[in-house]
């Protein structure tokens, strides 16, 4: 399995991240924007795991803490992402109840 170099994982991670970021900027439906943010977080998770597995840093002699730290970070990021999903859907539902539609552009009422 070690045939796949670290750079491939990082490349896929960055590609996913940029896809998500572009989606956030381009799309108008909050639910889709939100999915794009999730995509960005998952890209970061992939990056974390790749860094943890390969432990490329020449600065640490003992690789074991790096392996553990990266995996632990991913679990926490997943938990945080789940909390964000719950809160985000809650906010979207609240807006839906108020206006019976959700669209980011129509939503904007404050200017200045």
């Amino acid at each position: 399995m070690n045939d796949v170099p670290l750079l491939v994982y990082l490349g896929i991670g960055l590609f996913m991240f940029v896809t998500g970021a572009v989606g956030v900027v381009v799309r108008r439906n909050p639910v889709v924007v939100f999915m794009c943010i999730e995509l960005m977080l998952n890209a970061v998770n992939l990056t974390f795991l790749a860094f943890a597995r390969y432990a490329p840093s020449p600065l640490v002699a003992d690789k074991q803490p790096t392996w553990m730290a990266g995996q632990m970070a991913v679990i926490f990021v997943m938990a945080v992402a789940a909390a964000e999903v719950a809160v985000g859907l809650g906010i979207i539902m609240a807006i839906f109840r108020l206006k019976n539609k959700v669209d980011l552009d129509e939503l904007s009422s404050m200017r200045g």
Partner: protein, 505 residues
């Protein structure tokens, strides 16, 4: 699977985590009480929250003379910077809770979950400032933010509140994704999540270490700049500040800002070898922030939105203080940043406490016209409002002046003349809009029926008077307060030494 001799159950120094524990457990208790409260009576919830905050404050003060320590596998760290910042967060939260209840009633927001959420949010802020682990910074930031998203949208009958919630939520999680990618790359280059390792990796001559490190570090900074509302990452601030309920806005302006600024300070302090890289960039950011914040504020007609721009401008001043410190850490202590934060928090909280007058019959009106004739109805509060506005301008005997003056002095000492000049000029510009608030209170007579309440309830009045008192007295108390913040004269752990400590690798 490998044997892992490291994973013996750690010995935990409960003292170090006790403030965060007190606040978050207090939040759980407050939630339980809120579940079973008698109809529409939040007294017990409020007292539980205040008690938890008081306990946390006591634990923090008790730890001040203790030496630096870390626990939970270096996840939680105790030093004077963190303790003072946590103390500021705890007190700000308590003040916000003091003036919340009557406001929520007037706005008809039947949301007693506000109190637990405020506690958890400030627990997140406390985690953020009391750690050297980047992962904990992220988790603290998210605990702080996720609770704030809910609080921003708690006025469910108000379009603006919901709009502010979704904007804050989408932009906030967007920014934290960038921050997280930055953390991932720093983790990849240093092999650890500890902030202290950044300095070590920064001096490495290996391009494969330095390149990704700079990439990750820039992204980390962007995330923090967003949270502290610094230009060009400030666009969310006015909308969110205007739309959110006033007590939540006050919370954002003080707790969230303090946490972000102190974390930024800590991160920069541990990346001093990257100085040449980030100081020029952040100097531009600081100038831009001060200019944008102050100029855009001139055109505002809504006090809450004005305070949004004001908070952007103040974040710019804070960045000047931070930059002066990281430019020449030996001459400029971090005391100034914290001192300005205290002055800013007191002023802002007082102002928002008075602004809760705007809530009446389930609505709130916060345009300048709604402040007209305040001196007829509440002469004392009108005086307070004037004093607080003058403090934000920087009129001499008040706290705001002292804070700005110290920052100005620091910038000169650190040889950052351009920043000092921009600071002075934009402060003069700020007279233009803060005086509008004073004018609306004192000069303009009300047209037609007044849409705000005429009497401020007790808790808010107390908060407003106390904050004004601090703002007035801070100048006289400068020496003891600075001493308290910097910890000089204490047997151990003076602030400047701890914040500048270089990692020994």
């Amino acid at each position: 699977m490998r044997l892992n001799p490291l994973h013996t159950p750690p010995s935990i120094d409960w003292m170090v985590v006790s403030p965060v524990l007190a606040v978050s457990v207090g939040g759980v208790l407050a939630l339980l009480l809120a579940m079973f409260r008698p109809k529409a009576d939040n007294t017990a919830v409020i007292w539980t929250s205040l008690l938890a905050l008081f306990g946390a404050g006591y634990a923090l003060v008790a730890q001040l003379p203790l030496p630096e320590a870390s626990t939970f596998g270096d996840m939680v760290y105790r030093d004077r910077l963190g303790l003072i910042a946590q103390l500021l967060i705890v007190i700000s939260t308590a003040v916000v809770i003091l003036f919340s209840e009557q406001y929520l009633r007037a706005r008809r927001i039947p949301f007693s979950e506000f109190y637990p959420l405020a506690l958890w949010s400030s627990a997140g802020a406390m985690m953020m400032v009391s750690t050297k682990s980047l992962l904990m910074v992220f988790i603290g930031l998210e605990v702080l933010s996720i609770a704030l998203y809910v609080m921003a949208g708690m006025a469910k009958q108000s379009n603006r509140s919901e709009e502010s919630a979704i904007k804050y939520f989408l932009l906030g999680s967007f920014a934290s994704a960038w921050l997280l990618l930055g953390i991932a790359y720093i983790f990849g280059t240093t092999g650890t999540l500890n902030i202290e390792a950044i300095a070590g990796a920064a001096v490495s001559d290996n391009a494969l270490v330095r390149g990704p490190l700079l990439f990750g570090f820039s992204l980390l900074l962007i995330g923090l700049l967003f949270k502290a509302a610094l230009a060009p990452f400030h666009q969310w601030t006015p909308d969110v500040y205007q739309g959110a309920p006033i007590n939540v806005t006050a919370f954002m302006a003080t707790v969230s800002k303090a946490a972000a600024v102190v974390t930024l300070l800590r991160v920069l302090n541990h990346a001093l070898p990257l100085k040449d890289f980030f100081i020029p960039a952040l100097t531009v950011v600081a100038m831009l922030t001060m200019i944008v914040g102050n100029i855009a504020a001139l055109a505002q007609t809504d006090v809450k939105r004005l305070m949004g721009y004001s908070s952007i401008a103040n974040a710019g001043y804070l960045l000047v203080a931070i930059l002066a410190h990281v430019k020449s850490p030996d001459q400029v202590p971090v005391t100034t940043t914290l001192f300005f934060l205290v002055a800013y928090a007191a002023t802002t909280l007082g102002l928002f406490a008075i602004l809760t007058l705007a809530a009446k019959d389930g609505k709130e009106e916060t345009s300048f016209a709604d402040l007209n004739g305040l001196y007829h109805r509440e002469p004392i509060l009108a005086v307070c409002l004037a004093i607080l506005s003058f403090s934000l301008i920087g009129v001499p005997p008040l706290a705001g002046f002292l804070g700005k003056f110290l920052i100005f002095q620091d910038a000169i000492v650190a040889e950052q003349l351009p920043l000092a000049v921009v600071l002075a000029i934009t402060s003069v510009i700020s007279i233009g809009y803060y005086l509008k608030v004073v004018r609306a209170t004192w000069v303009d007579e009300p047209q037609g029926e007044i849409s705000t309440r005429s009497v401020l309830p007790g808790g808010a009045k107390f908060a407003a008077l106390a904050c004004t008192g601090i703002v007035v007295l801070l100048m006289i108390l400068q020496t003891p307060v600075s001493k308290f913040i910097s910890g000089s004269g204490q047997p151990s752990a003076p602030l400047s030494a701890s914040a500048n400590a270089q990692p020994d690798r």
